[in-house]
């Protein structure tokens, strides 16, 4: 579904992404892990088109999207959430999700109808709100949500566009343990149709959610396997010593 082929990106002499290839099947949930500074965010930005590639190709559903800008890639079905909440301040949950739905349904050019009267948009907003468990606070202004709820909305805005591939940048970043559990449930409940690539620090979440794990270190993929294999890997353990190696022992 999503294929990165030999991605290269350097900042000066520093190879931040060094010949990275990842192939994700339809319906797969792939986690990208790695220590701080491993190049996870750069890799993510290369996929979304936020950063231009030095070399390599990005394919979505077999189509080359390397030359497309972030909005073009999004229109082809690449959705993303942000590591830091990137919401619409001052708008309610409903209004925020409506914006996402209107844009994704290609109705942002319609100037003769209020999307509040458009069944397709309204239905999309409703189901998305249920998926992210915010249907009770639809009319709450984003600024007044709890942090956990804001994280849920962050994922929800990306989800409302019904992407073919959903890229999640540390969805539980900054969340309390209880909220993290809620987020895990939420992501697990998304039916198998959506292909997911997730960058995450929380290992419990990764092992519970992902089908496949890719480990990034110094800009290179050094390991790929199931969560069980990753957990057992001596090499991965070595990289992470001091970070979470002990937790697993």
């Amino acid at each position: 579904m999503l294929e990165a082929q030999n991605l290269m990106k350097s900042f000066g002499a520093l190879h931040v992404t060094n010949n990275v290839s990842v192939s994700i099947k339809q319906g797969e949930r792939r986690a990208i892990i790695g220590p701080n500074g491993a190049g996870k965010t750069t890799f993510f930005n290369l996929l979304t088109g936020e950063l231009p590639l030095d070399e390599g190709r990005v394919l979505l559903g077999g189509q080359d999207i390397t030359k497309l800008k972030p909005d073009g890639r999004a229109r082809r079905g690449l959705g993303r959430s942000f590591q830091k909440n990137n919401l619409f301040d001052g708008l309610t949950v409903q209004e925020s999700l409506t914006l996402a739905a209107v844009t994704a349904l290609g109705k942002s050019g319609i100037f003769w109808r209020d999307p509040a009267n458009d069944d397709e948009v309204v239905q999309r907003v409703k189901t998305t709100a249920q998926q992210i468990k915010l249907e009770q606070v639809l009319n709450t202004v984003t600024d007044n949500l709890s942090y956990g709820q804001r994280r849920q909305l962050e994922v929800g805005i990306a989800l409302a566009s019904r992407p073919k591939v959903l890229l999640l940048d540390e969805p539980t970043s900054g969340m309390s343990p209880e909220d993290t559990g809620g987020m895990l449930e939420l992501l697990k409940n998304l039916t198998g149709e959506v292909t997911m690539l997730i960058i995450e620090h929380d290992m419990d979440l990764v092992y519970n959610l992902a089908d496949q794990v890719s480990v990034l270190n110094y800009g290179q993929i050094i390991f790929e396997g199931t969560p069980e294999e990753t957990r057992a890997s001596e090499e991965v353990r070595r990289i992470y010593i001091g970070e979470w190696g002990e937790d697993d022992a």
Binding site: T48, D71, N86, L87, D89, I110, P115
Partner: protein, 326 residues
Amino acid sequence: MIKQETLRTFLAVLLVIIAVIYAVNAGYFGKEILAEILLFAILAMSLDFLAGFGGMVSLGHAALYGTGAYFYAVLTVNYGWNAPSAMAAAIFFCGIAGWIVGAATARVRGIFFIMATLAFGQMAYVYVFENRALGGDDGMSGIPRLDLSLVGIDLVDPTNFDIFLIVVAAFVFIFLMWLLKSGFGRTLVGLHRNEMRMRALGLSLLLHKAAAFAIAGGIAGLAGTLAAQHAMFVSPDYLDWKLSGLVLIIVILGGLGSLIGPVLGAAVVIILKHQISAYTEHWAFFIGVFLIIAVLAGGHGLYDLLVKLNKRARRKATKPEEVVDA
């Protein structure tokens, strides 16, 4: 006592009523001032749509206004077009011009955007100023007004012309309110609030901003054709950046992003201008002082002041109920 959305409608209706009463009862000079206010109100609504809702603070808006005025003047005076076709052509042309400026500046932000629009405006100004075929700095005169004699209205009469302008201004207000509630309008506001997110959702920055600029340009052009008809004369002053500045002041003073605020702002600024002009020619100085006070007082303009007063009144009115609820 009133809800905010209702407050806007209420204020709009109130302003229309006041304007109609004034148009009928004022003396000749008063009617001229009202026409000036209405022209600025239409131009200011167009700029507010662009700047207040779309986040594109343009300092070249007068250029689109002046282009509309000149386009209308040339088509009617030099080519003998009838007024309705000339108006339609001028609005269309200004829409296209707006689209081009919007597309060219779509990726430019902040101060650079202001400078870019100023540069576009000055280009148009200099072109008109230097062009002898357009009368150069003498401008053009003998511009006809729309002929509504078929429906029994003589637009040469200042009262009728004022009422005509009121109808057009009301139509522009309703059109923009309706537009802002549409998918297009909502995503435009979304783009203003969070450009990066809207792009990540697949919105084309260039197409969206250019479309918004085209609409604002068309309305500015409409205001220009009306200004040319009102004065029956056009001059390069119509495209002057100082005029763009004045409209921006009107929008900010009235309340950026409120649509009705700029209408109020137009009334206040133009009335102040004429009142102060009676005593001193340095009226702009006092408008400046007024603007500084308004910005220091919160910077959200006259409309916001009304919203706050209204909220306070509501709180007072609902207090007893809250006690009962508790």
